[in-house]
Amino acid sequence: MLGLGEYKTIFIVVGLAGILVLAWPILSGFMPARATQRFSELYVLGPEGVADDYPYNMKAGEQHMVIIGIGNQLGSSALYEVRVKLRNSAEPLPNSTTGTPSGQVSLYEEKAFVADGHTMEMSIDFSFTDVAFDEPGTSCRVVTFTLNQLDVDLNQTLLWDAEKGGYRGELFFELWLYNPDTRAFAYHNRFVGFWVNIISQE
């Protein structure tokens, strides 16, 4: 049998535990938030909304569509900017190690506000509107590129890839994040892209 002093201790412990439970709603407000990983997602889907059937072989003037998705897990709402760029196989991609964007000129920019924990998807319609085959077998020149009904004067050269047999270029999308303190966008070290192959009309 326990002594009276030990029973007294049990009563005190029960009382303190009860007070702690009652005080929890207040105490929880002063607790530091659980450390969670903060990140953003950037993905590209084919026209059916799945990671398949990406447009590849393209004739001048043919309309194609992809879906760009942005996921925000940063812990607060964010303003993103997707910059669309085109490069040939000799031009560099963004550098993930140094976190620097590609030096290619941005063809198109789309801003998107995404609430924390939410995902935003936007469709990008595009076509290689005007393509010149000045030097067949060496390179072709994308004169005009159309993105979401806006034509962009481009004059981008795509080199002939003998191994894969085509004039190949990579259409890629960089993710930039708005910093409310500096009121400027900074490259967010995320990019996705896919290769396209320009084929002549014949």
Binding site: I19, L107, K111, Y178
Partner: protein
């Protein structure tokens, strides 16, 4: 036109006008030619530049206000959708201008700014409401803690006295020599 953003908000009185403009843009038909960086702010035609910048600034101010409200604990997901609507409207300027629809472009900018200002106002209100609700919840929690704590202490005290009496009685019964003592 810019790609349709797939979770556009459905609130607010400006929605019918927004819908008409979006439908017009979707069915615009032939594309329009502009220079590189199709939708960059520095590519805005001179005649719209001032109002465009004012609308863009209103959107960014609205966003800062929304972030403020979010920091206070408010659910701002609907306001974020509204900001997207405002940004989407503003992006229509290039297309309207390229087809020579000055009125459409001006309306798009004005609508965009209006939505952004409404968002900022709503965010401020939401922040105030959330702070008031948080204070009220904190006050209620404090009252529950004080009253509940006092009640719990009282109950435990009474229970302890009762238990102690019973304990002593049992002890006296089990040890007869103590029965006569107080």
């Amino acid at each position: 036109m810019v790609g349709p953003i797939m979770n556009i908000s459905r609130r607010g009185s400006y929605r019918p006008i927004v819908s008409v403009i979006l439908v017009f843009l979707v069915f615009l038909g032939p594309s329009v030619t502009i220079g590189r960086v199709a939708t960059a702010a520095d590519n805005v035609p001179e005649k719209y530049r001032e109002s465009f910048e004012a609308a863009q600034s209103a959107i960014l101010t609205g966003f800062s206000t929304v972030l403020d409200a979010e920091r206070s604990g408010a659910d701002v997901s609907l306001l974020v959708e509204d900001l997207n609507t405002a940004q989407h409207q503003l992006s229509g300027v290039w297309v309207f201008d390229a087809v020579g629809d000055t009125e459409g472009a001006t309306l798009a900018i004005a609508q965009s700014q209006l939505i952004a200002q409404e968002v900022a106002a709503e965010a401020k209100q939401l922040k105030a409401t959330t702070i008031a609700a948080n204070q009220s919840r904190l006050m209620n929690s404090a009252l529950v803690m004080i009253a509940g704590g006092a009640g719990l202490c009282l109950i435990l005290l009474l229970a302890w006295k009762r238990f102690k009496r019973g304990y002593v009685r049992r002890l006296r019964r089990s040890v007869p020599e103590l029965a006569g003592r107080n």
